[in-house]
Symmetry: C2
Subunit: 116 residues, 2 copies
């Protein structure tokens, strides 16, 4: 499991630079392959068995987001949940997004026991 899950998101002032591409490439290897680059951020699409499962996962991600002070965009409906991560203050991806991605992976992987 990625060491990112032991980190905490840090407050990010406007003007913080996004990560260099080389760093992003390295960190992409530390999160699930389901994460893809999408516009300025990261996106993961997860199939679910129905609406309730999608909303249940969204709820756990929402609580994680409040704890970390770093908030994703969520899209969900019957049978799917989609998570988008971007650091708006940086206009792109920062380490915070990868910390969130790694912790969300832990919630979404049934084999992990879902702790985050």
């Amino acid at each position: 499991m990625s060491g990112l899950v032991r980190e905490r998101c840090q407050a990010c002032a406007p003007g913080t630079p996004p990560l260099p591409e080389a760093d992003i490439a390295q960190l992409m290897d530390q999160v699930a392959p389901a994460w893809i680059r999408s516009g300025p951020g990261l996106r993961r699409h997860q199939r679910t068995s129905d609406f309730a499962e999608a909303f249940g996962l969204a709820t756990r991600i929402a609580l994680l987001a409040e704890r970390e002070g770093h908030h994703p965009e969520l899209r969900l409906g019957w049978g799917y949940l989609e998570v988008e991560l971007t650091t708006h203050a940086a206009g792109g991806v920062t380490r915070n997004d990868f910390i969130m991605a790694a912790k969300i992976d832990r919630l979404l992987e049934p084999s992990s026991g879902g702790r985050a």
Copy 2:
């Protein structure tokens, strides 16, 4: 307040026809002006003060959806919540979508006390 809020969503078999345009136009007058036609469905965008407010409203809509057996697509992030209603079995808008829209209006209008 629209009489739609006293109705319940009805089970909808595949092949159910979408509403004729004249009926849609009439029902659009019974829901909040914030609802717009969007692709095959209806969409309402709501600003919120932060992520927690958006997720709180989404939670109430999710519980309503489970009660009615009719599920929207939700998109939310820091400062906004967006709701999309379509009847997939009909490939368009049915009365169920307007029943949901009217009940969601009641949740989103602070002056209503938020009962649904």
